[in-house]
Symmetry: D2
Subunit: 378 residues, 4 copies
């Protein structure tokens, strides 16, 4: 502990993601032996008062109202970007040009072009870069990755990945910014579909190479505010489905929706290989179901000391929660910085996901790819 | 019971399906009050000795070695077709032309043209017709259908249907006839994919109107017999995946595979509506999971007296098995004959599934529908 | 098949148990290669008309209105006793004295004295004897027994066995005969508690040697008939709980109740050994959960060809139902008769369960065994 | 926030419990709006160097090597006792006499006499007192309590509570202090059995009034250290089972064991009432299974904003972990102090559990309460 170097952290944004990241920065040092000691130096937000209140509650030492000031500060070596996607590229590129290390929320950007520019800036910088696909750091997901990498499942043949939520299944839910394309970029696809693409590639080690997709907007207009009689158009997808081919011959299906009534945060993935299978559902995040041979699935509680990340926490059977995935992410990021290596997933990984998202949108826009059943005659 | 009319049954074929149907004919009268009393009159098979042995074991009174003789017999009013798909059309059309009632195993035929001819023959006949999509008669599936029909799920938005098996995941499994296109027509698609198409349409009441598909053959050649060093080509699909649009705006994903290691007969279907959701897995066939409102899924044991078909059997909690689905099918068939109505699913329903299968094959044959990820640039 | 000897069966009683046994006798020969071919010769019941109607529906060739006539008949070699417990001893002893083979529903008798007399009669007879603890013939339970016998769980330390139903949880349910001691002997204890005692002894191979028990009657009086305003006393237990020591140092807990709202027929048993564990719930009767080592429980679908009894039925994943347990029981009974061996469980096994039931009643009657918490002071 | 009063906290002990409590003190203010702001003032431990290292890692401002010094400090208003049970009474009584607020790990003490002394000291003090039965603060357990209190389950009839672990199922595990009576007081009974007694009383609102128990030590001697050939005796119970009567006529079974191979931290509780049922398993701590009416159990993910404690954390479906139960406990403790009310569970609640533990030990010591099966004859 005593020969740790302290690194200052500046975080931009303090909504949902900012709250989770703060908890990770606050907690990581108490559980992991870190090569670098993070200092929660400064929080940036537009409103002085609100930002100051958030900083006090979340434990940040100082505040700024312009993110550019954070990038300029000498007491900040790490920039943590928790803003909406439309500002990721600008902030990240500036930070990298200033030689800062950057961790950026997902999806990496709102377009492939932006993501490419971020990857170029990363290549030119002395700073390290990471995109915050936190679900890689669920111990059960990391164990799934390990089992596949060790060959325990044999050759991978099938993936079925779903991310199911239901928070706008009610047609009277208001038209929040996430349902407007100019602000959110896309709907379920970019918000949660991005996670299952990354998780699939992480667990299997295989890239998505081709897709055929559809997207749908079930509720086409909504009250402009809760309870309002005035309606506005929903301009993003409510759901996105696609089938895909992966490197090496595996096939996959993907589905992201906010209309799966009764499912709250069901990031589900099943992988079938020639020698065994895996199944995971984030709604039971401490469990991994593993079938070696063909006799059935074993429910493994991923809470043993040898499981990824788990040894730092509690005894077997004492499960972790959502926020721990971020703590693990921060820990890996700090280690990568100290080692001078690229953390995973890097901006390059984020760009690859961005290309898949763009391919899905392109495919979904072309309805001629669909074969009509009524056209099939003898 | 005393005013029942006896109807003679002639069954063609006595392999797996024949064994199950025999159990249904043997059993149905002991549990249901039937308008017609079936008599297991005659079993047809090619080999005299084997057919006679099967008839003795399965309880058939007589045997024939030519199915045409069965169709000709005056003591036979019902023809039960349990042969492979390539003979369905010929037998069914002859039987219908002879005024017999026909129940035919699925898929209805090996082509849309054959299925269309069967539907025409049915329309011209005084005999009733039924295609044996037995999974409609799982009490849990029938209850799912009832709940949707009653509007308990609101407007249907999502279906995800999978039929997962693993019996040829091992690459050394031999090249049985089911893996040869000239005999089997297709692979997983027609064999088990047909079931999830029918089950989806049955539960939701919505037709599949368009599809985008891929099929894959993971193991491209196999030993021509168990343990043989001589290899032959697998000419059918090992797996079929497709996304679909249903009538009325719902979207769906389908997957049929024999390579889902650890899954034995997992016909799984989830339906999400605006007001609730359903989930079913045949591996736990006595359970239906129902979410009304959005608080989560209730595990209903579909063994209560008011549940479909169940009152005829045992007290609550005393589950049924696979074969009961056929018993229920026979019961409904006999009732429809007595009422002079068309049983469901009829040949027309089978034809509709056949068209979807053909659309899937056509779509899967055109790889240009896929969007390559590497082509996506800024 | 051709050198089978036919054995005539006479069944006494045709209520719930009679219906299930009939299905077993009707079905067993179509699936198993039997050394003896059962013939459903005669059904006995008190009312001529009702018995004749039942015989017609269930497939019995003849009827008698006095069970003594059945015992006397030369065309009957097997007596199947499906009556309430108070007549078991008289019928079984008469049948054994006549040299018949006897299969008798559980519990074996309404008292230890009766059960002892039955065991003595069995010892003096050339007929074989079996008590119908059908749950031994659930394939998953039989597999559990096999795994323990093979030593796969190591030394057995814990059993927790429960039989949970809810059919009289509603206090307005009427005072049926099962709730009256003079007719039923006991309540949940003898009816369903007997099953978990036998299943525990079967799976573990260990006898219950000592118990401490409580019983409770939650609803002390009920309408004498459905909807009646006249109330009568419930004179049996609604629930029975006991802790026990087994041979060899293992400990166990047992609970039988008809008041577990939401549980329909949950015969549940967990076994922990030094090397692994098992868990079973009849509500999901085709599943056995097995933990070898300590990493967690594998859900095994007990539908593989090598699993007990399963090879005779359907392919993997095509589950069995409640009635199959009786079919397996009949098959084993016929084989034991042909071999001249004692089937298991025999009347002697039934007597052992009877002694445990009596010990539980004796223990529960002595409330002084309880330690009052309020008496504990420093 | 600005008008919060700061309260200094002194924690005694920094092993497993100390690490968890530290995380709670560090985190609580970032998520809950507290009436008092806790300051992590001082950590006490025997070794200066180890305590200083722990304080640095866990975030305590100062260290002491004598807990008495902590009690004396003016900057400390709250004493958090995380030591083994044999020192609870002495520390707690001294702290209460000094007017400090005290939160004490469970079980409250190693004897009823000690617990009684602690309750007396609490009554005479201006300080508030709490015993750390943290499982009450699992949101699912708190929701279970709420549902019962609202009458949603009707009259309570059954509880079955188990706490299953397997960490010493291996006979070669060494003789740690927890397996020695002079240090640990009891084995599974006090360590984990205490939790299920408290959880049962909390959820149902009913006290345990009488018990009949057995305890067992399966592995009677163990290596004195890991790998040692020298063996020493295990002097505590490996498992404790008891049946019980609760206030108001309900019955219950309890089991605590460290030998349930494959179960890691399975605190399981089922409650059956006249109108519905509940089921919970800490291994899936974010789930509560609720049966209202009798149709089956709904799996509720207890992560909605209105669920107990949950609104302070993440969106629905983003689960919490083990440590959050302590954060909730601290939050409730601080609120109780500010309100001048007694937090729940208080020392008085802890004493009641202590009396039940003593009754279990007394009952288990008297083997004459068991009825031997072999003594039962006709």
């Amino acid at each position: 502990m005593s020969d740790q170097t302290t690194v200052g952290v500046g975080m931009i944004g303090y909504a949902f993601m900012g709250r989770v990241h703060s908890q990770a920065w606050r907690t990581v040092g108490a559980f992991f032996d870190l090569p670098l000691a993070p200092r929660m130096a400064v929080l940036a937000g537009r409103s002085k008062d609100s930002t100051a209140a958030a900083a006090a509650k979340l434990g940040w030492a100082d505040v700024e109202t312009d993110w550019r000031e954070v990038v300029r500060r000498d007491d900040v070596q790490i920039i943590d970007i928790c803003t909406p996607g439309d500002s990721h590229a600008e902030i990240a590129i500036a930070a990298l040009e200033a030689g800062k290390h950057v961790i950026c929320e997902k999806p990496l950007a709102n377009s492939v072009a932006e993501a490419e520019a971020m990857v170029r800036a990363a290549a030119a910088s002395t700073g390290r870069n990471m995109v915050a696909f936190n679900y890689r750091r669920v111990p059960a997901v990391a164990l799934a990755h390990r089992l596949v990498a060790e060959g325990r499942l044999g050759e991978i043949r099938h993936v079925r990945a779903q991310y199911l939520q239901d928070w706008i299944a009610d047609a009277s839910a208001p038209l929040v910014w996430r349902l407007q394309k100019e602000k959110a970029g896309s709907g379920a696809l970019g918000d949660i579909g991005a996670h299952i693409i990354d998780t699939t590639e992480f667990i299997t080690g295989l890239d998505v190479v081709g897709v055929s997709a559809l997207t749908e907007t079930f509720v086409k207009e909504r009250p402009v505010a809760a309870g309002s009689a005035s309606m506005g158009p929903v301009t993003v997808d409510d759901a996105a489905l696609f089938i895909a081919r992966l490197d090496g011959g595996a096939v996959a299906s993907f589905e992201a929706t906010r209309f799966a009534t009764g499912r709250k945060n069901a990031l589900r993935i099943e992988v079938n290989g020639s020698g065994g299978s895996l199944a995971f559902d984030f709604e039971a995040m401490n469990e991994l179901w593993v079938s070696e041979g063909d006799r059935g699935f074993k429910r493994i509680l991923v809470t043993d000391p040898d499981d990824p990340y788990v040894g730092a926490w509690w005894p077997p059977g004492h499960g972790l929660g959502y926020e721990h995935t971020f703590t693990h992410e921060i820990k890996d990021f700090l280690e990568a910085i100290a080692e001078g290596s690229d953390p995973s997933p890097s901006f390059a990984d984020g760009l690859r996901v961005q290309r898949v998202l763009a391919a899905v949108e392109r495919s979904a826009a072309d309805s001629s790819r669909f074969t009509a059943v009524e056209d099939v005659t003898s």
